[in-house]
């Protein structure tokens, strides 16, 4: 595999917080149309990696290339428009807005009305609102959250909020979807629902997915490839079966046996 086949390429990314290296020369590639899982023990740098890709952190060294752009040099607010969306480990919804408005807010990058047209709310702006509302309703149907359409998300239970957040990421119509622990803190039933949604997104829309997850059984079931981080370094990469048998991975998870 050459680098050019990669959809997203992470090259020698190094991120320091003060003197601590959160990520140390991490490189890997994400191919178009795969589910890649990033796993590792707590504090391994998984979320830091995702934060670097989504432009939330700026690594000191290295490059992250996506569709010909270097994400480490792209202004944060322009990354979403390139076709990249993410969810957060600690849900980061707009808590004062309804489910519907949260998803509509994510249509920001796809809407063309300028602020003056918004203020006049006539003609084009009005038609655009309805057109995007239609698209958002499709996502609401897909995620089975129609019953909470007009509920303020601050009042929703945790599992539903996770689902709304996934919906908000989908409303961006991303080509690459980054999911930070989409099933953390869920019960088995909720996890199965979420896994079903993720697989549906992947199969129906061909969205490339990078996810961080702690549930190993689930990771091994749904991902095509796995990248393992430990103490900020990549220690293994490969198919779930390869990774499962890797000495270093077993060592990182279980310690000296």
């Amino acid at each position: 595999m050459t680098a050019s086949e990669n959809f997203l390429t992470v090259e020698d990314v190094t991120l320091y917080f003060g003197g601590n290296a959160a990520l140390c020369e991490v490189s890997f590639g994400v191919r178009r149309g795969e589910i890649l899982a990033i796993i590792g023990p707590n504090g391994a740098g998984k979320t830091s990696m995702l934060n670097c890709i989504s432009g939330f952190y700026r690594p000191q060294h290295g490059r992250i290339r996506f569709k010909g752009h270097d994400l480490t040099k792209t202004p944060t607010h322009k990354i979403a428009a390139l076709g990249l969306a993410r969810t957060f480990q600690n849900i980061a919804l707009y808590t004062g807005l309804s489910t519907l408005d949260n998803l509509m807010a994510a249509r920001h990058i796809h809407m063309r009305q300028n602020s003056l047209q918004s203020i006049l709310y006539w003609g084009y702006a009005r038609r655009e609102e309805v057109a995007h509302r239609r698209r958002v309703e499709e996502i609401i149907d897909f995620l089975e959250i129609a019953h909470i359409r007009k509920t303020i998300v601050g009042a929703l239970p945790y599992g539903l909020r996770k689902r709304v957040e996934l919906g908000r990421a989908l409303a961006l119509e991303p080509e690459l979807l980054l999911l930070d622990e989409p099933m953390a803190g869920m019960n088995v039933e909720e996890k199965e629902d979420m896994a079903r949604f993720i697989l549906d997104i992947y199969e129906r829309q061909g969205t490339t997915i990078v996810l961080i997850e702690h549930d190993m059984g689930l990771v091994m079931d749904i991902s095509d490839r796995v990248v393992v981080l430990d103490f900020g370094q990549k220690i293994a990469e490969g198919t779930p079966d390869e990774v499962k048998r890797d000495e270093k991975v077993i060592h990182a998870y279980l310690g000296d046996a």
């Binding site: 707009y94 808590t95 004062g96 807010a105 918004s118 702006a125 009005r126 908000r168």
Partner: protein, 374 residues
């Protein structure tokens, strides 16, 4: 809480779902209310008309603050300073440059908006308490400037007299229409908005426009971007909202509202100086917004109305209060106004921190659920 619609009111299309005024009887009520307000001078005593006028101007200023603080989450204590800017611009354009008031009014808004942009710049770096301090600087710099720059034009601390807004019509068939009177000096028919009874029509007209603009902002792309900055600025940026641009837009819009309100106030009082509106008024506007409900379009209307009415109550209560507390004698009204305002603010923060607008929603929901639940 989900949205509760009156029984039988169904959404048949997305357009219908997005509508603000949903039913015919609601339109009828709205038009009746507007009719009652516009014909106020014909049946209400002059002090009442003057009071409604003051409430209207306060609502416009608070609506601007609501867009900045309620929607965008940027706390500002500079609203009164931007009103001063608008007031001076309009006063100079109409008084010294001889513009029509109706042209000077939007220009005053835009001018104040540009000044607002300057004081919005710190919002990129600082939040919350520190931003309050940064906007507070407007409250010191702008009045100081009006006192010290161009004394020949701005007349220093004394301030300037502001002309009466007029509109003129050409003489048609030797008669003057629309209640205008013939002005021999100009050779045209002129209508002067001199008394509150005449001025209130301007205030109400502007209030209708400002309310529609606020509503449109809150239900469109712009409003959702502003609210996402308030609710989660980090997520908003990752979802493609340019924080810098939208914070500045919010400051601009808020200052435009302030500028328009300031121009209305200046022409209503017929005089403006650096003390006409000040820091206390900025704090009052913030209080009105809290009492009415932050981030709700109904909030500024209810809050400004309640607080201005409380001030009136202070005037009514002053004589008995002065009899009870002789040490207040002479300044009873002045003493009671902040007392009532402070009391209202405190009670609201404890018992209804989301303001009157939220309470109104609860009442509506309870009414619609009746008799099944409360």
């Amino acid at each position: 809480m989900a949205v509760l619609r009156p029984s039988g009111d169904f959404d048949t299309s997305y357009e219908h779902d997005l509508a603000v005024v949903r039913q015919r009887w609601q339109w009828a009520l709205l038009l009746l209310l507007l009719l009652a307000l516009f014909t106020l001078p014909y049946y209400a005593p002059a002090p009442t008309v003057s009071l409604i006028n003051r409430i209207g101007i306060a609502i416009i200023a608070v609506q601007g603050l609501n867009i900045l603080t309620g929607y965008t989450g940027q706390i500002s204590l500079g609203q009164a300073a931007f009103m001063t800017v608008g007031g001076y611009i309009s006063a100079l354009l109409v008084g010294a440059a001889g513009w029509s008031f109706f042209l000077a009014l939007p220009v005053a808004g835009l001018g104040a908006g540009l000044v607002g942009l300057i004081f919005g710049l710190p919002s990129l770096r600082v939040k919350g308490f520190y931003l309050v301090m940064a906007t507070l600087s407007a409250q010191f710099i702008i009045p100081w400037l009006t006192r010290h720059i161009y004394p020949s034009l701005l007349n220093g601390a004394q301030g300037i007299n502001v002309p009466v807004p007029t509109f003129s019509l050409p003489v048609i068939a030797n008669t003057c229409f629309l209640g205008t009177t013939f002005n021999a000096e100009l050779g045209t028919c002129v209508y002067r908005f001199a008394t509150p009874s005449q001025f209130i029509h301007i205030t109400l007209g502007v209030l209708i426009v400002s309310t529609i603009v606020a509503l449109n902002i809150s239900r469109s792309r712009l409003g959702r971007a502003l609210i996402s900055v308030r609710d989660n600025d980090l997520a908003a940026e990752l979802l493609g909202v340019n924080l810098f641009a939208y914070k500045l837009k919010a400051f601009f819009i808020a200052a435009v509202y302030a500028g328009v309100a300031g121009a209305l106030l200046a022409h209503n009082l017929r005089h403006i100086n650096s003390q006409t509106v000040g820091l206390v008024d900025s704090i009052m506007f913030m209080g009105m917004l809290v009492v009415g409900g932050l981030g709700s379009n109904l909030g500024p209307i209810l809050g400004a109305t309640l607080v201005v009415l409380l001030e009136e109550l202070a005037t009514v209560l002053a004589p008995p209060a002065a009899a009870l507390l002789p040490t207040l004698a002479g300044g009873a009204t002045a003493a009671l106004k902040p007392l009532l305002f402070g009391l209202a603010l405190m009670l609201f923060l404890i018992f209804e921190p989301r303001g009157l607008a939220h309470r109104w929603m609860l009442i509506k929901a309870a009414w619609r659920l009746r008799p099944y639940a409360r």
